[in-house]
Structures are given as structure tokens and as C-alpha cells.
Symmetry: C2
Subunit: 180 residues, 2 copies
DNA sequence: GGTGCCATGTAACGAGTTACATGATTGG
DNA sequence: CCAATCATGTAACTCGTTACATGGCACC
């Protein structure tokens, strides 16, 4: 199952605790792969049983202890295998598209409202992406390292979000032109 | 749950049987909302119990009988309400992004192979979209009707698929330039 | 006579979500 | 003292997938 591999990929980048992972997967990384903390803890136990990751107890002062997980050589190997296996395209289920598809059922102002809402959310997301870009990827060294790979995925996030905003705009313009 | 509304939207467009819906949701419509026939039949029973749709037995010759479902006024109303309710952006879980994110773990040729695979699948999808465009949306009347709404969603499909292809290409070029 | 399409379902399982639960510490 | 953050978990439920099941007709 793919969540395992997303977790392995995150832990390969940097070992961390379930809590840390949950935060990442709800923040920026969550824009292309999300999971709740319940799912993550459950999955981490499985991966530990499989011997793909192992935990180190880290006691902190002023904070609860935590278990920091690292990927084992076996886990890393399984991740490599998975990366090398072709997969089909994922299905994206998008409520806004269903709304537009059946948009003739509601007043155009209502549909425009939904599209604006969608556009604003993408706008907010875009700003998060651009902040990340400015903070972490502005001054990448010319010789390729593993940060560059993360940057390639961020760039997809940026261009897709921009494309969303453009499509929302175009659709709103059409609706206002023909249905007002 | 959203599958209900996707089904209502499809049935509002044109009443049909579970089998018909399953075909639609595995073909072109399935590129932005998918469901298997098992899910669809289960959901149709629920919607019938709720009184949001009702069935008419249609006996055919040379073929098994079928149940054609239509949306009731109540169902239509619920769909309108749902359309008018704001929703959060859906999460897209994309394996290829996880692969690129952890792409430093495998030889660049392997990653390029995965990207080419992804690009080809999007290319095939684009051709399906463009066929649909040519067949059904080439000669839309100037006055807006409900076909136009479907066309707006198709246009999103086209531009996103093109953006995918572009991103794959860009990423492949980068990988080949710096890691060969 | 076999393959494939039409048509509808059940059963079991795995993935994902929501609610509930605990307990320490830091900062206002 | 109250809220927020750190940190980890269980339980119940819904959604989605895979496998299994049936049966007739059409076409080669």
C-alpha cells in the first residue's frame, strides 16, 4: 500500500517521529500526500514489524519522550523496488468538477461563489508553496543533490495550483458573460 | 458522502442503469471521478432507500432487463444544496511525486523511465479527451445549455493533462542534463 | 463452442476518517 | 488557570477494492 512508501520516502529524507510525520503530512507535503496521525501511527507499527524501519527512543527534557524512526537497509531496498515499479495514474476525485458539471441546476451566482471559494483556497496554497520556495530552494547549489528532487515536486505543485487558479478564472468569466 | 452526489449529477444529466453508470465512471468521466460497479450498486440502493432516486424496470429483448434510475425532486434538491455548500480542496495522492521526491535513491535512468511511463499515460488520456471534444463539443450552439457545463469540466481535464505532460518533460530534461 | 458484452449482485478485506482518550509542559 | 503544543495511542465506522457468483445473448 502506498502510504507505507510515502512514509519511507519522508523518513529517508530525514528520520523523525510519528508526530513530526503527521505535521508534515498535514502541511505542505500534505498537498500531495495526506494522512492523519492515526493512520500514520498504525502504519509505522506495521513497518516496524516488517523490519523496514526501526525506532530509537529519544528522551527530551520539558517534553514527552518520542520515538524517532529510521529506515533500515531492507526498507530502503523495498522503497527502491517500489519506485522502479510502474503504477497507473491515480484517480482524482474533485468535488468542484461535479459541481460545475451539474452547475446548470443552480443560479450562476451560486456556482461562481463556489468557484471563487475554490480559487481562493488554491491562491492560499500557492502562497504557501512560494514561501517554501523562497525559504528552502532559493539558493540551491548548482551540483545536484537530494534537495533538488524535492524542488521538482514543489514546482509541480506551483504550476498546478496556478493552472487551477487560471481555470477557475476562465470558468467564472464564461459564467458571468453568458449567464448574467 | 460525495459519490452519492456524483451519481446524482450523472443521473440528472441522463437517467440510466447501474451498469451504464459503471461504464461512464470507468471511462472518461472516471478521469475525474471513479467508482467500481460494486460501489455504484451499493450506493444506488442507498439513494433509492432515501427517496433521492427511483427505479423503472425496463425489459429489453435480446438483453437482460435493467433498472433505469431517475432523480426525484427531493434528490435534485439535495444535489442543489450540496452544490451550494463550500467544500475544502480534495487531497491528491500521487505516486509519481513520491517517486520523484525520493528519486535520488535510484539510478536516474530508472526515474526517467517512470516519468516517461507517466507521461505516456497522460498522453493517451489527452487523446481520449480530445476525441470527446471533437465528437461532442465541436459544434455547441452559442446560447448556453447544460452541455456547456460538461465542456467546462472537459477543458479542465485537457489543460491539466497538458500541464502533466509538460512537467514530465521538464523533469526528464533536468534529470538527463544533470545526472547522466 | 468459446469469448465477450449486458446486467446485477454478495462477501471479505483493506484503507481512510472521526471520535475518544491520556498526560506532561510552555506561555499568556 | 486556561489554552496550545508535544506525543502517542484505541475503537468504531465508512469508503473503496478485490474476489467470487450468476445467467442470457450475440458474434465469430
Amino acid at each position: 500500500m502506498s502510504l507505507s512508501y510515502a512514509l519511507l520516502a519522508a523518513l529517508c529524507d530525514r528520520p523523525c517521529s510519528g508526530y513530526d510525520l503527521a505535521k508534515q503530512f498535514q502541511g505542505s507535503v500534505g498537498y500531495f500526500w495526506s494522512a492523519t496521525h492515526q493512520q500514520i501511527y498504525r502504519e509505522l507499527h506495521k513497518l516496524e514489524d516488517l523490519g523496514w524501519i526501526n525506532a530509537t527512543e529519544v528522551s527530551q527534557d520539558g517534553r514527552p519522550d518520542k520515538k524517532v524512526f529510521s529506515v533500515t537497509p531492507l526498507g530502503c531496498d523495498r522503497l527502491r523496488q517500489w519506485i522502479s515499479t510502474p503504477h497507473d495514474l491515480p484517480v482524482t476525485k474533485d468535488e468542484i468538477l461535479v459541481k460545475v458539471f451539474a452547475g446548470y441546476l443552480v443560479p450562476s451566482s451560486v456556482l461562481v461563489g463556489q468557484l471563487r471559494h475554490c480559487q481562493q483556497q488554491h491562491q492560499a496554497r500557492l502562497e504557501v508553496y512560494q514561501d517554501i520556495e523562497a525559504q528552502f530552494f532559493q539558493h540551491l547549489p548548482p551540483e545536484p543533490n537530494h534537495r533538488h528532487f524535492a524542488y521538482l515536486t514543489l514546482k509541480r505543485g506551483i504550476s498546478f495550483t496556478q493552472e487551477w487558479i487560471r481555470w477557475c478564472e476562465e470558468t467564472i468569466v464564461w459564467l458571468e458573460k453568458y449567464l448574467s
